[in-house]
């Protein structure tokens, strides 16, 4: 089957790839480009482990076709840290022990970035509903939500006790 040529900006870099029409953006990221930080937990848009930001919008990359990435700007978990400086969300996840196995963690961090880009001052309920598309089976979400609320406050410049 003929492959399609696609050009997109991925984590700030102009990226070109060839993909089959049925390949999802998740397949492309993982198997074509080698960005394996986005995970496949369900391939049906239910678990959020493959969350990426496409043109400012949080999506499950398993529900986007690779060819749809043409001309888009995409941020994956690999693009969240700036060089060797962790993003404050990543740092707070570590400090709050907001991960156990770490498999859902990339998706949760990308989803949190999208949340705080849109709403820097979420309530706990807003954070819980925003992250309701990201399944975590290990933590019971307690420390995840604490990390999100803490980093939101820090990024707003508020001192947190």
């Amino acid at each position: 089957m003929a492959k399609s040529y696609v050009s997109a900006t991925i984590n700030g870099e102009q990226t070109e790839f060839l993909c089959e029409t049925q390949q999802t953006l998740l397949d492309v990221l993982r198997d074509v480009i080698g960005l394996t930080g986005s995970k496949e937990g369900c391939a049906s848009g239910d678990c959020g482990a493959c969350s990426v930001i496409v043109d400012g919008r949080l999506v499950c990359s398993c529900l986007v076709l690779g060819v749809e990435a043409e001309g888009k700007t995409i941020t994956t978990i690999e693009g969240i840290a700036q060089g060797d400086h962790l993003h404050p969300i990543q740092q707070k996840f570590l400090e709050h022990a907001a991960l156990q196995c770490g498999f859902c963690t990339p998706g949760l961090i990308v989803a949190t970035k999208a949340l705080l880009d849109e709403n820097p001052n979420p309530t706990e309920t807003e954070a819980r509903y925003w992250l309701a598309g990201n399944l975590c089976r290990c933590t019971g979400y307690d420390k995840v939500i604490r990390a999100v609320m803490d980093v939101a406050a820090e990024m707003r410049g508020e001192t947190v006790g």
């Binding site: 995970k39 770490g102 819980r128 309701a132 019971g140 307690d142």
Partner: protein, 755 residues
């Protein structure tokens, strides 16, 4: 050495875990993230039928498809004999596992593997699966546990005869085993009782639902050497099962432990690895396999659904004088439900004079069950702790008081044999009594439930090495896959013994060729047993460092003291020498005996049993039947929290899984014996908006058998939630829910039935 009464500098603090940055940046490599040159994709063809004889499998069309490099069926695997296996968690037979990995003769459940292909792309592999022509003779099937026990039920295995009954049966049965435990005289006890409570409870199979599907990458080399990258709870377990199922030597197989994306017991057995190796051998190329989510639900093991009858007899003052339980656990298609622990754990929290427990291990046409966090205990405890609530109500005694009155203490002989020692159950109940949640009145319109839980915890075989590197930094290696922070806890114990900061120790999980045998990560054993091995290895290193300092200073070794990561002369008589730290001693290593390293292998005994108590406040929407968890507190004796954040995390995560088990999760079957909800949309695990903050309260009654007092913590927290929530619903509505899950339709139906 024992550090329980010591002034600790690292243990009990909350450093950032050694593998943390890899996991927040997406660098951590899980099994599906690994690749090999020329790699093929392996896929499994699964039975659409719940029960069917396999008449023929024609693979010729699949093999003819361009891009297909290998097809395997049961014919490509040795037909191994029945043999008990002790390499996973819970009972297993190598032959059963072989038949589960690839059906031979019969498909025993919808989703049972019948063939597999390896192809150059996933799409071609999927096409090839459709081209494999399997002719079936569809057989009558049975799904429900009690239906499977009926005399006229369709029989799964012609060679399965009920064990544990006399006379030895001559007719095959779906009842694999009957187990009984008796203490005292239960019938006499019930005659003495002032009050008797009886109830019948049912639970549905629930899946561990780890977010990472099973995956592996296998390479068979022409010299017979095999390399496997896989996600599991035990790479030595993968090696043992793969070798046995393929008739190979253990030393021919090297298993590299990929990061594991959750397991909860479900990755203590194997599904893919022998298939990937067989495909790789046939194709002469590496083969990667990963299950889809649907395959995880249909083809890998949930835990048992069950029917449980409970009878309790008590005096008016609340003293329980007799207790009885009949438990029927689904094993899935092969024997081996957690019926043993089910029979033991329900009453393990109480000091009971007369107990009678009977358990049945029953096969039916469902996926073979796998361990799930405190296997068997949550099911039995849902029934017993619900019955305890009914007893408290009938006696007019507070739920906590009833439990205090009957609580097991040190010296209590259990109905299954052992006597409780060094347990902290009383301290847990004291913590409930003094907790603000328990003391705060229940809010208007809500209900409150209390339930307690028990898990044995285990020790067992572990190996650990500690190396002081040439610059004085430290590497600790173990054979225990890190499923939720054990690199951190093990590194912290090593750092404490060496007297260095936690960050100075890097902990790694070594592959099967690089470290001694280590039993799998399960039974809440790693921080206890592997932690013990690592602590002892660090102690050996300290002894060696003292010897080297003594040699450098030319003084006796007992004149050297190790403190805060340095060797000091012990007192003024020893001489005046500048202390030597790890870096200084490492620099001199070549002249003082060579590399500084120690390996310790243990078979750890004395894992302290764990007890927990959960308090749930709920509200019930009478229109929809929806239950909201308004407040949740989980109190547990953890012995000693090595890294308190990850101990809290275990408790919070276990409680949340229990909330899902209580309110949502279940396998739903259609009339053909096929699972109808094999996806996260319809099999709904709790999401962030379903749960409140879960307060984890750590009670620390040290386990004297561990150097730092640790007990296993990961399993206890899934035991109490179902009954705690059922009891809270009873408190809120007056309705006793006896069938899990307590989903909106069932709660609404109960409300309607009550008028």
């Amino acid at each position: 050495m024992n550090y329980i009464a010591s002034d600790l500098k690292v243990v009990g603090t909350r450093p950032i875990r050694p593998d943390g940055v890899d996991k927040v940046t997406g660098r951590a490599l899980f099994a599906a993230d690994t690749r090999a040159a020329g790699m093929l994709w392996g896929k499994i063809k699964r039975s659409p039928h719940a029960h069917a004889r396999i008449l023929s499998i024609d693979t010729s069309k699949a093999m003819a498809l361009p891009g297909v490099k290998a097809v395997v069926t049961a014919e490509d695997f040795p037909d191994i004999a029945s043999e008990e296996a002790f390499v996973g968690e819970g009972p297993m037979n190598f032959r059963d596992l072989a038949l589960n990995v690839m059906a031979r003769g019969k498909a025993l459940y919808e989703g049972h593997a019948v063939a597999a292909v390896a192809a150059t792309t996933q799409a071609i592999a999927d096409q090839a699966l459709d081209l494999i022509d399997v002719k079936y003779e569809v057989l009558p099937f049975v799904i429900d546990v009690e239906a499977a026990m009926a005399p006229d039920a369709p029989i799964l295995h012609d060679d399965l005869f009920t064990a544990g009954v006399t006379p030895v049966p001559t007719k095959p049965s779906n009842i694999a085993k009957v187990v009984t435990f008796k203490k005292g005289d239960a019938e006499a006890g019930f005659k003495d009782a002032d009050v008797i409570i009886e109830g019948r409870y049912t639970t549905q199979p629930v899946h561990q639902a780890y977010i990472e599907p099973h995956a592996c990458l296998a390479t068979y080399s022409p010299d017979g050497q095999i390399n496997i990258h896989a996600s599991s709870q035990g790479h030595f377990m993968i090696r043992a099962y793969t070798a046995k199922l393929l008739g190979l030597e253990l030393s021919d197989i090297r298993v590299n432990p990929a990061e594991i994306g959750g397991g909860f017991g479900g990755k203590t057995l194997i599904y893919l690895e022998p298939v990937a190796v067989a495909l790789s051998k046939k194709a002469g190329r590496s083969v990667k396999m990963q299950m889809t989510r649907e395959e995880v639900f249909r083809g890998s093991g949930p835990t048992s659904g069950a029917t449980i009858e409970v009878k309790l007899g008590a005096k008016k003052d609340g003293t329980i004088v007799a207790a009885k339980q009949v438990l029927k656990y689904q094993a899935g298609a092969f024997p081996g439900s957690p019926i043993g622990p089910g029979c033991m754990c329900g009453f393990a929290m109480y000091d009971l004079p007369n107990v009678d427990v009977v358990g049945y291990d029953v096969v039916s046409n469902r996926p073979k069950v796998a361990a799930y966090r405190a296997p068997g205990a949550p099911i039995t405890s849902f029934a017993v702790e619900s019955a305890m609530d009914e007893l408290a109500l009938k006696l007019g005694i507070d739920a906590l008081t009833l439990r205090e009155k009957n609580a097991a203490k040190n010296g209590t002989k259990t109905h299954y044999g052992p006597t409780h020692q060094n347990i902290g159950f009383t301290a847990v109940l004291d913590a409930v009594k003094s907790h603000a949640h328990w003391k705060t009145p229940v809010k208007e319109g809500q209900g409150r439930g209390l339930a307690v839980g028990f898990w044995f915890n285990i020790g067992g075989e572990s190996t650990a090495t500690v190396h002081v590197n040439e610059d004085g930094s430290v590497t600790a290696a173990t054979g225990s896959p890190d499923i939720g922070g054990s690199r951190a806890s093990i590194g912290m114990m090593v750092a404490e013994v060496l007297g260095v900061p936690a960050e100075r120790v890097r902990t790694v999980v070594a592959d099967t060729a690089s470290i001694g045998f280590t039993h799998l990560t399960g039974g809440s054993r790693v921080t206890f047993a592997t932690g013990m091995a690592a602590t002892q290895a660090a102690e050996k290193v300290v002894d060696d460092l003292k010897r080297r300092a003594a040699a450098t200073w030319e003084i006796p070794v007992d004149a050297v003291e190790w403190k805060d990561g340095k060797a000091y002369p012990a007192g003024s008589n020893a001489g005046a020498f500048e202390p030597l730290d790890l870096a200084a001693l490492a620099l001199k290593a070549a002249r003082t005996g060579g590399p500084i390293a120690a390996e310790v292998a243990v078979n750890a005994q004395g894992a302290g049993a764990g007890f927990g108590a959960h308090i749930a406040d709920v509200s019930v929407d009478k229109e929809t039947g929806h239950v909201t968890i308004e407040r949740y507190t989980a109190i547990q004796d953890v012995g000693k929290a090595i890294h308190p954040s990850y101990v809290e995390g275990q408790i919070q995560g276990g409680a949340a899984q229990g909330i899902g088990w209580a309110l949502n999760e279940e396998y739903i079957y259609n009339a053909k014996g096929q699972m109808e909800n094999a996806g996260f949309l319809d099999y709904r695990v709790p999401v962030a908006s379903d749960v409140p903050m879960i307060e984890a309260v750590l009670v620390e009654v040290p386990n004297p058998r561990h150097p730092f007092g640790a007990r296993g913590v990961g399993e206890v927290p899934i035991v109490p939630p179902m009954a705690a929530i059922a009891n809270a619903i009873r408190s809120a509505t007056g309705l006793r829910m006896v069938d899990l899950p307590m989903s909106p339709p069932k709660v609404r139906a109960a409300i309607d039935a009550a008028g």
